[in-house]
Symmetry: C2
């Protein structure tokens, strides 16, 4: 916490976070973010929570996701524009801020495009640890786009998944995923349909990007004991699961008020029974009811996950000495004299001197 | 708008914006922001508007203020912590972003601490031009803190105010304001109470900072034809005007749904009649009803004002060549291959090479 006027914001650029992940390793980062997530979900009641604020347009959505406990405030800016890859841009781009609740000072500004993929995968793995059958080894991975490697590695390192059954409507995406997973120890099986990929899978992860009400997964593909990690259905009009898949399963969510708007359960009545993940992690609710039950984690991405990820970035940046101070907020010799900034010698010249 | 993957965000630090204002001059900046504000308020119907998202804590508030038209999205992060000056920090600190609605790409990240003071003052002047009696020359300025110089200069340059009647509970604040206004051509009269300052004033500006339901201005201080520019009452539990001042006046607001929560009119029933400023600027509603009427601009600060200010900063930064590109969003050779970032040579080393 800043105690005087020599206060600056630490900035972590995208290259900084790439540097961080390369130096620590993807596995350590996934484990680290998962630990921070788990710890923060156990403090669920300590957070001032709200559904994100979305601005929808023809081709996509821009969202702000704020959350705070009594010491730290965080928010993320994130977009979702499925057509972006046509212009060479990412579908999802993000950045975020950690701030001090006591003063409002922004302490950290960081890229979150890469980090969002890490935290989403870590969240999926934390949920699956509480819901998937112990001994799960095979995962179907439907949608082999930008987030798929992170999901694959999170389930490999945190759950012991050793075999992936892959399907994407674009074979080039699957080939890219296979190439990126070389040397990780994961065995990959390329399938020609979602149904084929789901066959024999202990876990089915859906991470597709189309902004439509799709039915990627239908009831005929379910098998007793399956865990479904549904990641891609995450905004109004964007779903992946047939409604009957949800009706036949135990459904777990991050934060029910938001998931009822954005998740696959948007297809179902507002009183459809769901369990919030934190209740399971805190031991207040059982997870999987039986070996034969089908469980669904209807993941949409909640602000608390970015809070946890930003905490991980801050602590790791401090540990490794990564990032730069920036003067996003002016440094005032007298905080009651904002106008005085304009009467001083140009601070850019001062800084250069 | 980015058309390919060589996309970066322009960053304007606090020193950059100080540099901009020093090079253009405060008057030109106030006039410029006022022009952008006026133009955007005339396009009121084109904006996707919402009340800001506030996170209240014991000592203050942190807010996110998003808004968009069909081409540009903007948001501001801003805090309000009245006790901050004790730690040498500003009461209000802010930054903001302009983004491309079509792709979600953040195009500009800028300081908004200094800029918020400029845009708030410009907004007050734009409103007063539509509400104050023509020929107004004397303004009472109640609260001589961080924003007071900006209010003084905006009314001097945009309305022709030549005399200020000053009052603050802290005489040091008034002395600072006087010192900062030396050489501007404004005549200042130091008063020992709000009532004394208001006496003979054509316009009364209240810009106090206490987070309480204060009654800075009471009905006995009103005179026929007065315009009241109420700036400091801007969040729940923070008001400046006695309720009867509002009842005796024509009240104008920025965006009624937000002002009813945050403005001085929070003291009054939800059906208390107010007029939105854009209606007056667009000629859809008369402003001042008569020379004898008392008018109040119950200003709380609306997201559209930051949208306008960010547009002004972007255009002026381009004109003057101010600011730096930053890699807040990773540059991807293949946007479908986010994981590929981690398999390349460290981009920091690449950048240094």
């Amino acid at each position: 916490m800043p105690s005087h006027h020599h206060f600056s914001t630490r900035y972590l650029s995208a290259p900084d976070v790439i540097d961080m992940v390369q130096r620590k390793g993807v596995e350590a980062c996934l484990r680290g973010v998962a630990d921070y997530l788990h710890a923060d979900f156990l403090r669920w009641g300590a957070f001032d929570k709200s559904a994100r604020v979305a601005s929808h347009s023809r081709d996509g959505v821009i969202e702000l996701m704020p959350i705070a406990d009594d010491r730290t405030y965080a928010f993320k800016y994130v977009n979702g524009h499925p057509k972006n890859t046509r212009w060479g841009l990412s579908t999802v781009m993000a950045f975020g801020v950690l701030a001090d609740v006591a003063t409002g000072a922004p302490l950290l500004l960081s890229e979150l495009t890469l980090t969002t993929a890490l935290r989403t995968a870590a969240m999926s793995a934390v949920a699956a640890r509480a819901m998937a059958r112990p001994g799960s080894r095979t995962m179907a991975l439907i949608g082999n786009g930008a987030q798929s490697e992170f999901q694959a590695l999170a389930f490999h390192h945190l759950l012991g998944i050793d075999t992936l059954r892959l399907f994407d409507t674009d074979p080039a995406a699957t080939a890219k995923l296979q190439a990126n997973l070389q040397g990780t120890g994961l065995r990959t099986v390329v399938c020609t349909s979602t149904a084929e990929a789901a066959r024999g899978a202990d876990i089915v992860t859906t991470v597709t990007a189309d902004k439509t009400n799709a039915t990627i997964l239908t009831p005929d593909m379910l098998a007793p004991g399956m865990h479904i990690n549904a990641v891609g259905g995450d905004c109004p009009g964007k779903t992946e699961l047939h409604a009957d898949v949800l009706r036949q399963a135990q459904v777990f969510v991050e934060y029910a008020p938001q998931t009822r708007i954005e998740g696959d359960i948007q297809q179902l009545p507002a009183d459809f029974a769901v369990t919030e993940l934190w209740e399971v992690l805190a031991g207040q609710h059982t997870g999987r009811a039986s070996d034969a039950a089908v469980t669904v984690f209807d993941s949409v991405g909640f602000a608390l996950e970015d809070f946890s990820a930003l905490r991980f970035l801050r602590d790791t940046a401090t540990e490794l000495g990564i990032g730069q101070p920036i003067e996003l907020i002016p440094e005032l010799s007298d905080p009651k004299n904002l106008f005085g900034l304009l009467r001083t010698r140009n601070p850019l010249l001062r800084a250069a001197a």
